[in-house]
């Protein structure tokens, strides 16, 4: 699926919740619980995304020209948020990741839902994921 198709799928899923704040938060937390946990050895300072109120660890690999993301957080809502980003951007080429406009975030009203502090954290997560894509692109393209 393209990143566009995945985002549309997410928008559909969230539309079932009908904008109910409590159900949406519960749903995001459940998404977070489904994200596989990172090994304790990966939960180190250098993997922490700076600018998030909660602790968020992000690790990446580069396989067959695609970027693989894994992440974890000490709070379930943040874990749910990054699981959505991973769902869209995982196993895509650096170019796809860099060029993807993450329109689903505004469509599902994520920023209003999480408030300004966590919204800044969300921006930091996206930035970090795109930075990794850029770094892989620079390293492996010649």
């Amino acid at each position: 699926m393209s990143t566009r198709q995945i985002q549309e799928e997410i928008i559909d899923e969230f539309s079932i919740l009908g904008g109910d704040r409590e159900s949406t938060i519960f749903y995001i937390m459940e998404l977070g619980e489904k994200l596989p946990e990172l090994e304790e050895s990966a939960k180190v300072e250098e993997n922490i995304i700076k600018g998030c109120q909660s602790k968020v660890w992000l690790v990446t690999e580069y396989q067959d020209g695609k970027v693989v993301f894994n992440a974890d957080s000490n709070t379930a809502i943040t874990k749910g948020l990054i699981s959505l980003l991973i769902r869209v951007l995982n196993e895509k080429t650096p170019d796809e990741i860099i060029n993807t406009e993450l329109f689903f975030i505004d469509k599902i009203g994520m920023r209003q839902l999480v408030g300004s502090q966590r919204s800044n954290g969300l921006t930091a997560m996206i930035k970090q994921m795109k930075m990794y894509a850029l770094a892989y692109k620079a390293k492996f393209s010649n």
Partner: protein, 412 residues
């Protein structure tokens, strides 16, 4: 008896919906809502007699000065101080403590002296003393906190020595709600002639305060936690100590005479009130104190205690909830954790149902570290809260527990 209907009518801000649900404001330890008479007093001041105090030769200035000084008398009575000049207006607890650290501390704390604080202090009763000790080569000792959230008084008593010059502790803990045995703390400090500062930020809304009878040397408090405006509070200091202390800030209001050769300082309390004060908020603070006095401090305390017991009993029953701070003597503060559910997430889920609580370290990081946690969820009561509101909280917490605590324990 508390007439809850009457009380609730006094507070405009609690009658609103948040996220589609009636607001339940349980973040009173951070700041309380304000009764209408306080809001009206602010308006009356700005609309009717806004003027600088202690200066102008005109009617409005006289009216503003009278109202300003009426509040000082009201605070004096509220704290049980002997003399009106022992009440110094400040922005609040933080500034009051800093005033003592900078003025008293710079003059009377020397190398090798010791200051005692406790392990449950708010950062505002830690950092000023750390700065002072660093500068002076003095030592900061810390009274440990026991697992139930009470101070270890035996260790405290063993820390007190001839070197102890100051004991600075919270009367009531903002994170745990523990009411400390300040009588015992003061008695021991006095046995070595050490001065005592009480951080009264959390005790002032809930406890009967009588600084003269307690015989503390300093007492700091914030108006915004006792139904008053933000940006106004006070420092009580014993007259003879305040007189011996040098000024804190220099400027207008605090002087008697200024020449370039020498400045003579004004008398108490003006010596410590440099610059144009926060007149509007000071004036309205009187209305907050009047409100508390009219409802009755004892009645308020008894009512909040009832809410505390009612909520504690039910919250204890919910699977996964762990209370942090179970001291025998507490005010209406409940700090808690839920297994497998981070307090940030709890805060957001409760907010989605219109319930306002505080999450995090509550400006008491050393306390949190001593419990091996990075924060808690904290519910704190005021006189306008009700058992029905507690019921909603318990119902929502139960729902969160059913959904997330059961799951995490299955996974483990």
């Amino acid at each position: 008896m508390i007439d809850i209907k009457y009380i609730r009518e006094q507070f405009p801000a609690i009658h609103q919906e948040v996220n589609g649900f009636p607001l339940i404001y349980f973040d009173n330890a951070a700041t309380s809502q304000k009764p209408k008479e306080v809001i009206d007093a602010l308006n009356a001041y700005y609309e009717g007699y806004n003027s600088n105090v202690h200066r102008g030769a005109h009617t409005l200035a006289a009216k503003a000065t009278d109202a300003f000084e009426d509040t000082r008398e009201s605070v004096r009575a509220f704290l049980g101080a002997k003399h009106i000049e022992e009440i110094i207006f400040t922005k609040g607890t933080t500034e009051s403590i800093n005033l003592v650290a900078y003025s008293f501390g710079r003059k009377f704390i020397n190398e090798g002296d010791e200051i005692i604080i406790s392990g449950m202090e708010h950062h505002s009763n830690i950092v000023p003393w750390q700065i002072l000790c660093e500068e002076k080569g003095a030592k900061l000792n810390v009274i440990p906190v026991k697992g139930n959230g009470e101070l270890d008084y035996e260790v405290y008593e063993s820390l007190v020595s001839e070197k102890t010059k100051l004991v600075a502790v919270a009367y009531v803990s903002n994170s745990l709600g523990t009411i400390n045995d300040v009588k015992r703390i003061i008695a021991k400090a006095k046995s070595v002639n050490a001065k005592v500062l009480l951080d009264g930020a959390q005790s002032s809304p809930h406890c009967q305060i009588n600084v003269a009878e307690m015989d503390c040397d300093f007492y700091a408090f914030s108006g915004h936690k006792v139904y008053g405006p933000t940006g106004i509070g006070a420092l009580y200091g014993k007259k003879e100590i305040l007189e011996a202390m040098p000024p804190f800030l220099g400027g207008g209001e605090m002087i008697k005479e200024v020449t370039f050769a020498k400045t003579t300082f004004n008398d108490l309390p003006y010596k410590f009130e440099a610059g144009t004060p926060n007149i509007g908020d000071t004036v309205a603070l009187k209305n907050a104190i009047d409100f508390v006095n009219r409802v009755g401090k004892e009645e308020i305390a008894a009512y909040e205690l009832e809410l505390l017991e009612y909520a504690t009993d039910q919250m204890k029953q919910i699977a996964g909830i762990k209370l942090v701070g179970t001291a025998a003597e507490k005010v209406g503060v409940i700090s808690f954790l839920m297994d497998g559910v981070h307090h940030f997430d709890l805060g957001m889920m409760l907010d989605a149902r219109g319930i306002a609580i505080r999450t995090g370290h509550h400006c008491t990081q050393p306390l949190m570290s001593s419990f091996g946690i990075d924060g808690t969820a904290r519910v704190s009561f005021a006189v306008y809260n009700t058992k029905e509101e507690v019921d909603v909280l318990v119902e929502v917490l139960q729902k969160i527990s059913d959904r997330f605590v059961a799951k995490t324990s299955k996974v483990v």
